[in-house]
Amino acid sequence: MSDLDAFRAEVRAWLEENAPPFIRQPESIETAIWGGRKPSFIHDDQRLWMERMGAKGWTVPEWPREYGGGGLSRDEAKILAQEMRRIGARRPLDSLGIWMLGPALLKYGTEEQKREHLPRIARGEIRWAQGYSEPGAGSDLASVATKGEDKGDHFLVNGSKIWTSYGDKCDMIFALVRTEPDAPKHLGISFLLIDMADPGVSTRPIKLIAGDSPFTQTFFDNVKVPKGNVVGERGRGWDVCKYLLSHEREMIGSLPTTQLSAETLAQHAVRVLGADGIARAGALRSDIMQHEIDAWTLAIAIERAGDQAKAKASSPFTGSVLKLFGTELMKRRTELAMSIEGSAGFDPQGHEAQEWLHAPANTIAGGSNEIQLNILAKRALGLPGA
């Protein structure tokens, strides 16, 4: 038996022992586990699952062990993911700390910052928020105006951030703050880690068309942030931010087919319309099939991106490609799901309506798709600047 086969057997046995029944069910937005200082679980199995996986470092399988990770190779991590899928196990932890801050800290953080923050992210002890956009800085992110005045050992931060995901439930926020007011636009920004329990931080929920409030506006009123909380060089936060956004893009693009969809659109159509109904709705059938073709295409593109990463032959533009195609596909999927349901899909709290109302945000967030097109046109194709 090869080492990988032995590892697979070990993983399988451990999961069998440690994956509690409740988490072996298809995921939905409601069942996500976010952790944090005051975590909320809809079932105690979720807590168990997060803690057990966190203790193994398998919430972040490929991070180094000294920072709370599993220290697994890419192949081992793939096996872990396969074995989790095999028993239908959900992700043990959803976290901007894992998806975004972690990779940035691993690349830009000091040893002290890594040791302080990464293990807590891995164990789900701190729930992180992202503080990028501002009311006056959306697509033009580099014009952030939240300012941090140099007060010797700390920055005094004033301003506000918007579209903070679950800002009212988060413990800490990584934020772009203008610390060098006289420097050029892109060179005056620092990447700060701010504790949201500190005096002067407050949030206000934003109600969306879907009826929920997953985002807040987050206000900073004379918040003192120690200088040791700058990630990367002072004034070079834009570099950290770009690095981190490339991770976010890949994640947003790859979410719909790989994680959230328990059934394919084709299966959904059969469940609701039956074979006869599909046969009678020829035009709809054709569009559903085109969606399935594109969904399969996306899955293959994600597979290739993984293979390229492994071969150290990644393209810097894959994130933009996946984000563009993946988010537009997700929108198309929810539109078609609504068409399959017809009037039966109009319940505001219904699954299809909720997915449909939430989908448009994805082509806007993480650098709107128009921004991705700009990136591709200028950097991938080298088209001249307007």
């Binding site: 599909i278 099939m289 399935e292 293959i300 490609v321 563009l324 080298g382």
Partner: protein, 377 residues
């Protein structure tokens, strides 16, 4: 196999590029077209490709090939697509696939070497109507003494005007039957067809054509089931190779278009500075990048005998046909007026993409085929 090219595959691409840029630039195809040569392909180029092992790199060593796999064949098809090389690459791949899958030892020994070294050219006579429909066979083979008698008409036979041998898909007594037919045999009438892509094609009528028992692919042991399986397999291989060619055609037309956007000036600036064009070009970049993933996946599936290979063949053909069609329309539009002139090469890509898209099924055919696989309806 990962969806990344191996070093060997990258080297293959490089040597193909250097051979093709030397012997088969787009100008060579244009000259061939303008010469009016009825063969509509260059035997010298085909011989050179065969000599270098590129005529059929997928053929295993056990069958006399170089055993580089379908991925290598796909890369060859893509590179030929980039320069619009008019070669019997597809016909040869289809014939080889059918021979290996259904031929008996004697047939393989007699025909494979010539196909591999480029000295023989076989065409597959399968279509009977305009749209791809491999399951309709009005052309019949009935018993005639010890042999068979063929009646019917095959249309749009690729390379049908130059082939020195035909493989005819007929309806036998209990299902499909593949017959080897000499195009010069009594009762065979080959009528060349003009085609928008300036490649060789013909309609072929069979009136009371008599062939011996040894003309049946597989000989005495050839069964309808074997023939059906061989046809299905060959068509899927052909579809993936066409998908690779379409990727090459679309990529080249796109690259030329991006270069044009950086060079052409209007309103005192390069037209590539206009966001209206930048975003459209970026969308083509995305579509091509995705199509590249799908083609490589389908090629690897053929090499690995993946059980999804047939579905992946349809996926690849559907995706590349659609992607190439959109890329071509955008390429012509972004070239403006010169895009619709014969003098500019972009129109040659535009026309070949239409034909390669239809061959062995367009995006509508394959979307339908996938729908039937998924739903059974």
């Amino acid at each position: 196999m990962p969806l990344v090219l191996t070093e060997d595959e990258q080297m293959l691409v490089e040597s193909l590029r250097s051979l093709l840029s030397r012997s088969a630039p787009v100008a060579a195809f244009r000259a061939l077209r303008d010469s009016g040569d009825p063969k509509r392909y260059s035997p010298a180029l085909w011989a050179e490709l065969a000599e270098a092992g590129f005529a059929a790199p997928q053929v295993p060593e056990a069958e006399g090939g170089i055993g580089m796999g379908y991925a290598a064949a796909g890369l060859a098809a893509e590179e030929m697509g980039r320069v619009l090389a008019a070669t019997p690459f597809l016909s040869t791949a289809l014939a080889i696939e059918l021979l290996i899958a259904a031929g008996d030892a004697g047939q393989k020994a007699a025909l494979l070497p010539g196909l591999l070294d480029g000295s023989r050219l076989f065409a597959l006579a399968i279509e009977e109507g305009g749209r791809h429909d491999p399951d309709t066979r009005a052309t019949r083979a009935t018993r005639d003494g010890a042999g068979w008698r063929i009646e019917g008409t095959k249309r749009f036979v690729l390379d049908g005007g130059v082939a020195d041998g035909l493989i005819v898909a007929t309806q036998g007594e209990d299902g499909p039957m593949l017959l080897l037919v000499d195009p010069g045999a009594p009762g065979v009438a080959v009528t060349p067809r003009a085609s928008i892509d300036s490649r060789n094609a013909a309609d072929i009528a069979f009136e009371g054509v008599s062939v011996g028992a040894d003309a049946v692919l597989g000989g005495a042991n050839g069964s309808a089931d074997d023939a059906a399986a061989a046809i299905a397999r060959a068509l899927d291989v052909g579809r993936v190779l066409l998908a690779a060619e379409l990727l090459g055609i679309a990529q080249e037309a796109f690259d030329r278009t991006v270069a044009y956007l950086k060079e052409r000036e209007q309103f005192g600036v390069k037209i590539g500075t206009f966001q209206a064009l930048q975003h459209r070009a970026a969308r083509q970049y995305v579509a091509l990048d995705l199509a590249r993933s799908v083609v490589l996946k389908a090629l690897r599936a053929l090499d690995e005998g993946d059980k999804a290979r047939s579905a992946l063949a349809s996926l690849a053909k559907a995706v590349t046909t659609r992607t190439a069609r959109e890329a071509m329309n955008e390429a012509v539009q972004m070239h403006g007026g010169v895009g619709v002139t014969d003098e500019f090469d972009i129109g040659l890509f535009f026309k070949r993409a239409r034909v390669a898209g239809e061959t062995l099924g367009d995006d509508y055919f394959h979307r339908e085929r996938l729908a039937k696989m998924v739903w059974g309806i």
